[in-house]
Structures are given as C-alpha cells and as structure tokens.
Subunit: 479 residues, 3 copies
C-alpha cells in the first residue's frame, strides 16, 4: 500500500520566491476559525448528535461530486448506495466503498481527491492511500472511529474550529432542528438561511405542497398577493430568529423584473390559478427576486443569488432517482441585462448586500467584476460549485481583482453538504488566496504588509461583514 | 507613514530565469517615446496650457476608475467632487482627497493603484504612501507642484516623452482647441480622432442637437441621405486637417449591415422623421459602420470599433449625474455574425485598417484572433478598459498570439482622460509584454533576438503602422 | 543565416523545479508510438506512395494555418500556389516559397512556427532558420530529399513511428485508396472515418451530388427515409471494413433533436422535395446526430462531434476559391441545451462513446467538463484547431481536469492534413501535458507515480480506449 501524506506546501505556487511568501502568509491564517455562511449540511446532525454509521453513508452516498464522476465512468448509482426514489438500494455499504476505492484514480487532479485525502489524513489519521488494497482497512477504521464520541457531529464541529455554520432551509421548513439545537444548550453556532425557491418557482415539482405548508406555517392566505408577501415577511422573521442573516435564491437564470404592484398581483393570480405558462413562471421568479431584495432593504438580510444551473439535465436519471443526483449542468448566464430591473429599484442602497455567484466564468471579468465594482449593494461570492477548486479560485482572483478589488468580494464559503470536507475546503481557499497574494507581492504589485492584511480579510474579515456577522441582523432591522 | 517606492522589477514574472530575460527586454524599450493614438484627454489643456488647480480636480474627480470603486463601497460621488448635472458639488477638494486617501486600500490589486503610485512617485516625487495620515501632505505637495511652470500641460507632455497624443472629438466639434494648438507654434503633436457616434446613434440623448451642429459646421443638408454622407466626408477631411489619422466608433454591439443605397436612404428617412424604432436605430448604426469603412477605403483613415459596453446602466445615477459616471458595464459581444455584412464589402481591402476592440474576453481566442488572422483589413486593438491591466494584458497575449500572431496587433493605447497616468499605463504595457516575450523565450518558443525585435514592434513599430503615422494620411488619400 | 536548433526543454515550464519533473515525465512518453485517430491526410499518398514534388506543394499550399496568416498580412493566395476554383495558379513554387520565407516572422509565437521548425530540423535535418536568405537553400534541400525513397509517404509513416493513422472520408466516398492500401500488403495501419456531413446537410453545396453517389454506392432508395437510414448502415459497415472505428460530424451548431419516426420521415420528405427552409435543414442535421448516435449504439463506432465553425465566412474568397481556404471562424457554441435531445435517447448508454470537441473555450469549464463528468457516453476531445497550441492545450487541462478528471478525456489527436507536422504536433501535446502534470506534482496535488501513469494514459492509453483500438469494433458489434 502507498503512503498518504499531506505536504505542508501543497497548493502553494511552485516558484521558490513566491512559495516562500505564500508560506508566510498562509501561516498567519491557517488556524483562524472557520466561518461557513452558506452550506447544505443537515441541521438534524447537530440537533440529535447521533453518530454516523459508516464511511459509505457519511462520505460517498451523499456526495454528488463523487458519484457523478463514478457514474460518468459507467458505475451505477445503485452500486454506490445512492438512494433512488424508492429509497436506499440493497447494496452492501462495504461493497460500495470497495467500488469507490477501486476507482479512486478517477479523481486525480480533482478537488474531491484533495478534500478526501485531507479528511482521511487529518480526521481519521489514515496514513495509507485509498486504493483497492486499502478499501477494507479504510471502511473498518472509519467505521470504528465514527462509533466513538469524538466523531459525533458536535465533537467534530468543535474540533474543526467552526465559529459559525449556516445551513439552508426552504420557506416551508418548520426549522425544528434549529430549535432543538438552541434548546439543547450546545454552544455551537449553527444558523439557517432562507431559501424560498420552492414557494416561488411554479415549475418546481414541489411548488403546490410547499405552498400549502407555507400557508400553514404562517397562517396567511398565501393565494392572495398581499398574503403571500406577508407570509414571506413572517418566515424571514422566523428564520432570523433561528440565526439567519441571509437569504438564498437559485434559479436557472438571474432574470429580475420590476413590475408595478398591479402587474405583480395579476401575474401572481395566474400562477395560483395554474394558468401561467413558462414565460409567466420566469417573470414571477424574476419579480420575486426584486421583492426579496426590497424585503432585504427592510430587514437587513443579506441576499445571495446562485443562478445558472440547468437542473436535472439527465431525463432518465431524474425519472428514477429524482433531483440532485449530479446531473445539474451550468449554462451561459447573463447578468447585465438580467439584473437591471432589480438594480433600478435597489441598486444604490448602501446598507443592502446582494452577493452574486456564477457558474459561467466568462462573466467574471466581463460582467460581475464591473457590476460589483460599481453598485454599492453588489458583492461577489467566491468561486462556486464546479469552480470551488484550485484552478477555479485562481481564475476567480485573476479575473475579478483588477476591476472589483478585494473588498467587493466576501471571502470563502464552502456550499457543501459534505461536513467532513469543510476544513479541507477552507484550507484550499486559504492556500490559493495566499498564493495569489504572494504572486502580487513577488511581482511588486502589493506590499507584504498589505498582503497580510488581505489574507486576514479574505479568511475572516470580509465574510463577517458581508453576512452581517458583526452587527446582529436584528439590530439592523430595528434601527 | 509608510514609504512609497517603485520596484524596478515590478510586473515582471517572478521566476528568476524568466525575470532576467524580461528585464533585458524591458531595458530596450523602457525609454522609447510614448505614442498614444487613442485617448480622451482634453485638447483645451494643450491649447491653453493653464495650470491645473489641485489633486482632486486633476486626479480624482475626472477618473471613473477611481470614483466607481469608491462609490461601490458606499462613498457618494458628491463627496469626491464629481460634478452632477447641475455642476461641481460644494464639497471641499481637500476633504474629497482625504476621503480618497482613507479608502486607498480599496485599490489594492487594481491597475489604478499602480498608475497612481507611478504618478505620485515619478511626477510628484512623493516618497510616502497615500493613506489617511499622508492625505494632506499629498494634497499640499501636488497643489504646490501644479502651480509651477514645470507642471503645466505642455511641460508634462514633453517631460513624459510623448511623440504623439490623439484626442477624440465628436462630428459636431469645431476643433477649435486643435486649431489653437497649431496656431500657438508649440511643437507637441496633439491630433484629433473622428468619433461621429452622436450624429449616428438616434438613441443618443444628444442626437438632434449634434445633428444641428453637424449641419452648421458643414453647410450640408444633413437631413437628406446624400447631404448627410457628404457632411461626414467633409468633417473627416476637417479632422484629417487637424492631424487625425483615425476614426472611432463605440456602440453597444458590433453589428454591421450591408443595405442597398435605396434601403439606406429609406432607413435614414425614418431616422430623420423620428419614426424609427429601436430596430431601425440599430440597423442604422450598423449600416453607418459599413459607410464609415467605405469612406476609410477612400481617405485612408484607420477605423476603430469599440463595441460591447452597456452604457449608463445605473438608472438613478444617470438621472442625477448624466453619462460617463462609472456605470458602463460590458456585455457579451458577437463579432463573427455582426461584422460579416461590413466584411462582405471591405473585408479583402489590403490598404484598409480596421482595429477591433472588445470588452468580452471570451471572443479573443474564439472570434477576434481567427478574424484578424484571416482578413487583411482587420487588426486587434490592445486589451481595453477594464482589461487594460496586468492580468488583462497577459490574457490578451495568451489568447490571441497563437492564432493572430503579433503582427496583427497594433501595440498599446491608453484610451485615457487621466493625463498623468499615461506614462504609467504605457510602462505597464511594456513590462507585461516583455514578460510575455520572456516566457516564450524561456520556454524556447522564440529566440532572444526575435523577442527583442518584437519588444520594439509592440512598443513603437506596430502602432505607427496601424495608425498611419509613418505615411501621412493625406498622401495616402491623394494616391 | 541564423542557426536552427530545437531545445530539448522546449515548451516545458520555466520554473526549474517544475521543469525537472516535466523533463522526467516527458522522457517516459517521448518515444511512444503515434496514434492518430482523427485527421485529414490523403489516403492516396499511402495507396500510391508517390513522391511529393516540392516544399511548396507539400508544406505551404495545402496548409490553411499558413496561408490564412499570410493572407491576413496582404499576401494573395495566388502568390502562395493555393489553387482557386480553376486550379493551381501559374505562380512558380519557388517564388511562392520565397514569399513564405520572407514572411516567416509573422508566425512568431504561433504553433505553425514550432511545427515547421520541428519538421525542418528532424525530417530534413536543416540547421539554419528559415528566412529570406535561406529560402532557396530550403527549397532545394527539401526538393532533393523528397525525390529520394526515404521521403516517400510510407517511409515517413514508418520513420514517424505511427501505429495508426485515421483519415476522414465522406459517405459518398468509394474508399478505393483504402482498398488499395490493404491490397498492397503494406503493413502501415491507415484507417478511415465515416463523415457523412455532405449527405446530411441540405445546405451543403454538394448535397445533391453526394446523395446521388450515396445511392449508387449502396443501391438503396436514399430518397425514402428507411432507404436513407439503411444506406447509412451499409456505408458504416463499408467504413468499418476499411478499418474505421469512428464517425465524425461537423456542423455549425451542436444542436440535436429527438423526433418521432413519423416526424423524422416528414422532415426528410421536405428535405428531399427541396421544400425545406433553413430551420428544417437545421432540424434535420439535429435529428441525424441522434440517428447516428443510435447507430453507434448498434455497431459500436465511436462518434465525434466537431461543432461551432462558421464556414466560408469570407464571401469574396469563397466565390473565387471555394471552401476550406482559411476563412472558417469559430463562434459561440451551446452544448447544454443542444445536446439534451440526443442525450435523452442515448445519454446513459455505457458502451457508447461520443467525443465532444469545441472551438468555444468558454464551454470547457462551464458545459463540457460538467457534461463529460456526468454522462457515461460523453468524453472530451483534445483542444481543437485554433486551440491545438501550447496555450490552448494548457487552458484545456486547467479548465477541464478539476471537473471531468483525466479519464473522461481521450488523449491527443492532430486533426491535420499536414502529414509532416504530425510528429511535431504529438510532441507538443506530450510536452504540454507533461508540463501540466509536473505542475500538479510540484504543487503536491498529485503523486509522482500517478503523474507517470497519467502521462502514459494521455499519450497512448486513453486514445486506444476511446476509439476502440483495443477491442476491434467488429467484435463489439457482433457481441
């Protein structure tokens, strides 16, 4: 079996001059707390603090980065214990893990490989590489560890040095796990995020049931335009009470609209009546982005927009397995025209923060950096999803810094449901950002002390500011 | 206060082998004259040679790169002495400068920071960095210097080693400052450029008044199609008499058209009658690009096309402050289909030069380099506007050289209204180009003597050729 | 005259640490056999093994990379012996070569320059650089060499270490040269590729005559939908008998369709009747991509899709010289929506291989890597055409590896009609890939032994697998 080691200089630029600068910068941020303001971990883990069962259930079956790659090479999702619409397949978790181990070479050069090796080494103290020969050793060692108290969710949360972890819940979510966390007296700061997509997107397969729960949770007549808006306001307040400082919105496009109240009401009427066509559905999503922005002006919540993913592209897979099965594909995304209607309404607000994400890197230098380098309310989210990777982060900095600067960006967020990868992901971001800063210093475009200040900002400073983690949102809204 | 120094190796690649080659190449071009064939400085400065008043008025208030960034972080334009539609605000210039100094960290990693530091150090001999603590020192020192003869426009022009500086004037401009420069006997070569956008774009807010002045200046019936075209020919001649060798055209798209004479005349009729819709306005701009190209075939003027900016994106700001306030945002630009109608007419002309610019870097390798690497009349302008930056220039060379080569590019132009940044901008271009050449040499893709030849071409040779600065345009037209 | 030498470290990264790793990796693959699964050399060369006549006819006149650049700088195609519609111009080949030599500096920084220098040095043992002064020496030396047996096509094929060379023929091609090669007993493995564009694209100027030959060669009623499909099946079998393991399809877009049998038949009826409009023609191409994919499921042939070129952009040139004269320009290409109809039909097939190429690099990270990193049937072809260059290959790896990994790519293919450039092109790819792997090792993102495995895969392993060169296609189809 081959050894597994993490080189202390990994991901730092190869040139010795630049690497030496990067190494010094990285040392100043390596151990700073992890602030994770946007992600998809399950709050039930922290509410119940139950142990995870085994390597496959924890690391493989829920990770779409992993099973999409294996699927692309002919491995069936069943063989990986990925549940289909009827539930978890009969596959033995150990057999699934062996399949993964045999194919681990597929991940060479991918961030998944780095995240996993980081977790294997630092969380489970494994010192041999994952391959067919070590598959059982891994499965056993991880399984044994998970059965011990030190590997329960809260213990790992603390061990990882997480200062704050945001999860994401729908507008129809009762937030009971968050309530349980608070009731438990545990001090770990796990907060929620308001993600109302399923009650806004009339083309979402769960739109009607989500709307019904939305009505139930708020006691509002959500089939009237004013009741529907009030229900959003109520739920935003519920979410803020559960620690939320932000909302999140993920549609196929970034289209916004600026309709009159009467037009909005009429449009909403068609949505509720079920007479809306595709263009109406798009227009309603567009208008609701603007409505959400207006509510953020009122209540101080930071707004995140994650557009540009063509969801459930694989028709056959969607039919059998449902959504979120690694078949979401980015597509070309326009921001300049799409955001204008919303910006005409809220663009010059100085106390509003709207964080833009993209899966279309051609917009970094062309649209996003110029927009964020002008509009007071706009900030750039970090390299996202497929671009949450060393090369992706490097391109993000190279293509945004010169026009938007550093201070119109918001630090890193991991956007993950893979809890054990969180330290690794933040570590990758810190290393790549320090490498970029080091390059600027080595090329005499930045002084060393400026780079040190920026390394802190990119790790902890900017994220606190962008997500209102310094000034509690409640105060802002009250002010 | 922190020291301000310019490292002699700044912007050269960090790898020692490559840096050594780049340093040698740079030494051969560092002191070559500045040829600035496209820009937006005010010819009145050189006509009147009056002293500038203070740092804010000279360096801050007119520079959209600076105030857009400050505005993006919540600073009002009023606080920066940027004039609104009613004129310059009451803000004290010193207070504005202090605001700028306090926020100078926002520019870390941006080209503005490098341009400014270069000017502070080399023009004003400042040796401490700009920050809150040095704001007054800067304001005083710059103000004192500007009051001396050595800092008047003509003196700086000469000190900067400028061989030629082109300004840009509208088709309705009387060119009186250029006339005054020539009458004065001063030998500095300041020429104009023909930019007829406001008499071509029926959607421009100044279209009708510009057209009226166009008629007045030419004595033509500009409301008839033939009179309108004749007026253009007359004004192009006026501009050539004021030294112009080039025209410039900046619309939202690169669309061209190839209408028959009858169709053009009918379309123009609708424009003049005020019955044209948006599609007509676009078609007219498109047709006029082709008309301008045909006139360039006649009179030898180099044609520049600067498309792809969504102007005045911020509706609120436009209402209060008017155009050119840092709210122009690039958008996706098509060239392949858009330019075809014009290229069907003039594409194979060997004595015509059309220089293409872009704000959409995804077109460099995909469209622009393949077009310029084929059509005799097409050349590629340098990295433009938001991309006039170290990373932007590097991407330009990496994405165009392999298909278009070096000889289908036209050297650098600064495109600036910030006169004091001109030496800095040309210096950045020389350093980045030498770094790129050095990389090719270090990777044995180019011989060292070839790189030296190219360093000269990219600095002085190609620009002279592309803008007809070797053979006077008048001769060409006569020939 | 200046010396011509090929530095052994050419194209390897300049940083000494990285270069040392790259050098070791390259040494392991430098001499591996050349597998060229996609190209456009003339099978008649290998069938007849006649000597080439001179440098111009062999190297200059057929190479669109060369004459497009010269044309862009005002050299006429006539002056380069490029045939127009009436045939080869009267220009003396030696004069054409001199023109080329005088303008050789135009190719600085381009891959053509590297390919040519490699051929000059390694094939013809020339040791001075090409320039005006050496033009005749080159012309003479190359001409003398070509007259000797060692420089005949088959001898060079063997000297180049080519294991397999695929040519490309139309559906209406009788494949007589391939038959002659097989009859000759020569052991060089030259195979064909099925490229049915001209019998599918109703807008192709040769559609009707191609269709007539298609009917003649198959004996089918190709004007009935079922006869037409049967004719394709027959010809695919003919091509497999001539060694083909792959098909190839090159339309302006990647659009696919998924029509019912009745809709397809009706559409085909309009195509044949000549009543189809542009939309019909596009829809028919789209549907035929899906039909070809379905036939590939049946017969095991690998399918290649090369979309995104705007063919014959220069109207004047097309009128005089016809197609393929360096006037094809890439344009923006969509894959996510375009491929979905076909993927709905065959996307989850594990034994099907569809190789996607692009001229639009903005799709690498955004669309192609995510698609290939998910769908079992999709693989990514190497950097293509204008991007078959050091920077193009580097961008390809940087933008695809993190999402698609290495194992969803298919190694290099040269796609060339310039036979003498084949070793140079493969050498460039090996060097750049080793440089990329070396960077991953230097940044501790990959172990050295993994990089060595991958260097082999990228050179020989993956191409054999993707093009079915391990398991003969016939067996697959029978199984």
């Amino acid at each position: 079996m081959r050894p597994l080691t993490l080189n202390p200089d990994r991901l730092l630029p190869a040139d010795p001059t630049t690497r030496a600068i990067a190494r010094e910068l990285y040392a100043t941020v390596a151990d700073l707390p992890i602030i994770s303001p946007h992600g998809h971990t399950d709050p039930a883990w922290f509410a119940g603090d139950a142990p995870w069962s085994n390597a496959t259930e924890l690391l493989l079956a829920p990770d779409h980065y992993l099973y999409r790659m294996l699927y692309s090479q002919g491995v069936s999702l069943d063989a990986l214990c990925v549940p289909d619409k009827r539930g978890v397949p009969a596959t033995d978790p150990r057999a699934a893990w062996r399949t993964f181990a045999e194919n681990y070479h597929l991940f060479r050069g991918t961030p998944s490989r780095m995240w996993l090796d980081h977790a294997f080494s630092t969380v489970f103290a494994l010192d041999v590489a994952l391959e067919a020969a070590s598959a059982d050793l891994y499965f056993d060692r991880i399984g044994e560890a998970l059965a011990t108290p030190a590997f329960r969710p809260r213990a790992l949360f603390e061990r990882f040095g997480i200062e704050l972890l945001a999860t994401t819940e729908g507008a129809d979510d009762p937030l009971e796990h968050h309530a349980a966390i608070r009731r438990s007296g545990w001090q770990g700061r796990v907060v929620t995020t308001y993600r109302p997509d399923s009650v806004i997107d009339a083309e979402h397969e769960a739109f009607r049931p989500a709307l019904a729960r939305f009505a139930e949770l708020t006691g509002e007549d959500v089939e009237s335009w004013s009741g529907y808006l009030t229900a959003h306001r109520k739920r935003r307040a519920d979410f803020r009470a559960a620690g939320a400082t932000a909302t999140d919105h993920g549609f196929a496009t970034a289209q916004t609209a600026n309709l009159s109240a009467a037009e909005s009401e009429a449009l909403f009427g068609r949505i509720i009546a079920g007479t809306a066509d595709g263009a109406d559905a798009e227009l309603f999503r567009a208008q609701m982005l603007t409505e959400m922005a207006k509510m953020s002006v009122e209540d101080g919540m930071t707004m995140q927009i994650h557009p540009g993913s063509y969801r459930n592209h694989n028709a056959g897979l969607f039919a059998s397995y449902g959504r979120d099965k690694g078949a979401d594909i980015p597509s070309r995304t326009d921001y300049v025209r799409a955001l204008k209607p919303m910006l005409d309404v809220v663009g010059t607000e100085r106390d509003l923060t709207i964080i833009l994400f993209t899966l279309d890197e051609s917009t970094y230098a062309r649209e996003l950096a110029p927009l964020a380098g002008h509009y007071p309310c706009l900030k750039l989210g970090p390299a996202w999803w497929f671009h949450d990777s060393p090369e992706g982060m490097r391109r993000f900095r190279e293509m945004t810094t010169e026009t938007a600067g550093f201070y119109n960006t918001v630090g890193f967020n991991d956007d993950t449901r893979a809890f054990l990868s969180i330290p690794a992901r933040h570590d990758v971001a810190r290393r790549i950002d320090c490498g970029w800063l080091a390059r600027l210093v080595a090329e005499h475009r930045l002084e060393d002390w400026e780079a040190a200040e920026l390394a802190y900002e990119l790790t902890n400073g900017l994220v606190r500011k962008a997500y209102g983690l310094e000034t509690p949102v409640a105060k802002k809204a009250a002010a």
